[in-house]
């Protein structure tokens, strides 16, 4: 069963074809990796899936439904969450509140009840708080959750972004270079964490990463982009041996 299907997706910015007729899929509870050299169009693919860009051609299906026309917040409501390559946490919100923002879509308390605050409001807010505590606990973020998110060390900010994405209760999680800027031991922890998240929340994950040890270590399937085109797809071992992939990453061998 496929949860996400990209059908011949193409996006052009003027004369530049950033993603060229990409067809791929992510299965139920599958961990898929997307790799490729810089500028291959990986983040653009994320932006197409999450509705930031509309593809010039082609279709994106989520659970069999086309999500091309949805806006980013509607895509999130459908069950796709993402993290960002350059961390995008809310600077003036605390750690807890950063996560809390994600509960907005499922929160029953809207404008009026937030102002008047009936009994059910406090019940809901308490439930949200407990849920946040559980998530932070699971991610080993044993910190003062009332502190500003930007005071966290870099690696933990990345983790917080994943927590925030998970708080939207997604079925599919898109991780954009979650290991960037982490040291080897942090990377190892993160790999374990990603797998735990996948098992525990029963979600599918699409992962973009430059660190090959991470990608090869946890991904069940990998596809490779180069100049917007998919040049290879398969199991990690197959990808490592694929001459096209080696060519894209290392360049052509000089023939004598």
């Amino acid at each position: 069963m496929e949860i996400l299907t990209l059908n011949n997706c193409t996006i052009r910015f003027g004369g530049l074809t950033a993603v060229d007729s990409l067809t791929t899929h992510v299965g139920q509870n599958e961990l898929v990796g997307m790799i490729g050299p810089n500028g291959a169009g990986k983040t653009t693919v994320f932006n197409i899936i999450t509705g930031v860009y509309d593809p010039t051609e082609g279709d994106v299906l989520f659970n069999g439904e086309s999500i091309v026309k949805y806006k980013p917040f509607e895509v999130t409501a459908k069950g796709i969450a993402r993290t960002f390559q350059n961390i995008r946490l809310c600077q003036s919100l605390s750690i807890r509140d950063n996560v809390k923002v994600s509960y907005n879509k499922s929160c029953k308390s809207r404008l009026v009840s937030s102002v008047i605050q009936p009994g059910s409001y406090f019940k809901e807010e308490n439930e949200i708080d407990e849920d946040i505590d559980r998530l932070l606990e699971m991610f080993d973020l044993h910190v003062d959750s009332d502190d500003y998110a930007k005071n966290l060390p870099y690696g933990e900010q990345r983790k917080l972004e994943i927590v925030r994405a998970l708080a939207t209760k997604p079925q599919l999680l898109l991780l954009d270079e979650p290991a960037a800027g982490m040291n080897p031991s942090e990377k190892k922890d993160l790999m374990k964490l990603i797998q735990t998240v996948k098992e525990k929340f029963k979600i599918s994950i699409l992962l973009v990463e430059h660190d090959m040890s991470v990608v090869m270590g946890i991904c069940e399937r990998i596809f490779v982009l180069d100049y917007g085109k998919k040049i290879a797809e398969g199991k990690p071992e197959e990808i490592q041996k694929d001459p096209k992939v080696i060519l894209a990453y290392l360049g052509e061998e000089v023939k004598k």
Partner: protein, 351 residues
């Protein structure tokens, strides 16, 4: 906070109690207190738009003008008939005033919606210019509407026995045969500070809630907020409409206090004055904005003794303030953090 409702009730009772004593207050001080209240309403409502949601609006005086003129003209044109239905007593007047205020607020919020939906696609300076342009349009339109006094200002109307209502007519026949109605003076300490209490408690409660955090997320990072499932357009328009509503109510209170409204009361400088209160108080801090509104109401009055240097001192104080505390009186200093001062590690730009 669970006890916020209790605190609200206590403050309403306190406002009612103080209102009973208001007769003994010097008229001059009383006027300053009412103006401070109106300014608090204006500044806190603008703070929701500019401070919390981060949308720079420069057109608050426009919404205030709509509320002021709408409620004043309804009061003047229709109050005599409708008060007759409810009776001349205090109750009749109170109900009527509340209705008039709400109509003024709703009128302003409809205008907020009309302006907000197209212009909130813009950001920063562009939005500021659009909202400024809008408030100037309102002012110019009012200036040319004879029915509400045009550029002479709206003071009163004259109801003729034959039912013809006209401002010009009275200048020709300024003797017998008409009844004289002016904008009634309904606004008092109770009404003004009741609205102040409502807006302060409302915004404080709202900003503490999960829903309210959405507004701040929109300010901090729209793309991130959107991807966390926040409909940023809706949040921005909501903030705009609520802000305009309370600006309209403040306008209504203003009109029913001085019983005279002039388009020049709602010019560009008025908008700037409210923005200064928000910036001085600290964007996104209700307490700071309230204090700044009070200070900026009292300060020009205190400086009356040194009349000719008044604006210089006023301007200097604002400059000094901005140099010493750029984040405002109670604003959060983002670069310092709340509790710990551990600097975030150097952010490497991921490739």
């Amino acid at each position: 906070m669970r006890n916020s409702k209790l605190l609200f009730l206590v403050s309403v009772v306190a406002i009612f109690g103080i209102n009973l004593l208001s007769g003994s207050i010097n008229q001059y001080y009383y006027q300053i207190i009412i103006y401070a209240g109106i300014n608090i309403i204006l500044a806190t409502s603008l703070n929701l738009i500019n401070g919390y949601t981060g949308q720079f609006s420069l057109g608050h005086a426009g919404f205030m003008a709509i509320g002021a003129y709408l409620s004043a003209s309804i009061s003047t044109y229709f109050a005599p008939q409708l008060i007759a239905i409810l009776g001349e007593g205090a109750f009749g007047h109170a109900v009527w005033f509340l209705v008039v205020l709400l109509i003024g607020g709703l009128g302003a919020s409809v205008a907020g919606l009309i302006v907000g939906v197209p212009s909130l696609r813009l950001k920063g300076d562009y939005l500021a210019i659009t909202t400024l342009g809008f408030s100037e349009i309102i002012r110019v339109v009012i200036q040319n509407l004879n029915i509400i006094g045009a550029s002479q200002g709206f003071r009163s109307i004259y109801v003729y026995d034959n039912g013809v209502r006209s401002l010009e007519a009275v200048q020709e026949y300024s003797n017998i045969g008409y009844k004289f109605y002016e904008v009634p003076k309904y606004t008092d300490f109770f009404w003004t500070f009741l609205v102040v209490a409502i807006i302060i408690f409302g915004i404080t409660n709202l900003m503490r809630s999960t829903y309210g955090r959405g507004f701040i997320a929109v300010k901090d990072d729209e793309i991130a907020a959107e991807s966390m499932g926040i409909n940023t357009t809706k949040f921005k328009v909501t903030a705009f409409v609520i802000g305009a509503f309370f600006a309209g109510i403040a306008g209504g209170l203003y009109a029913h206090f001085i019983q005279y409204v002039n388009p020049e009361d709602f010019n560009f400088l008025r908008s700037v004055e409210i923005v200064v209160m928000v910036i001085l108080g600290g964007m996104g801090s209700t307490l700071g904005v309230v204090i700044a509104a009070i200070i900026l109401t009292i300060l020009p009055e205190l400086l009356r003794d040194v009349q000719q240097y008044r604006m210089i001192i006023y301007a200097l104080l604002i400059i000094i303030m901005m140099l010493l505390r750029p984040q405002g009186l109670f604003g959060i200093n983002i670069s310092r953090g709340k509790k710990k001062t551990r600097p975030a590690e150097e952010k490497s730009k991921g490739a």
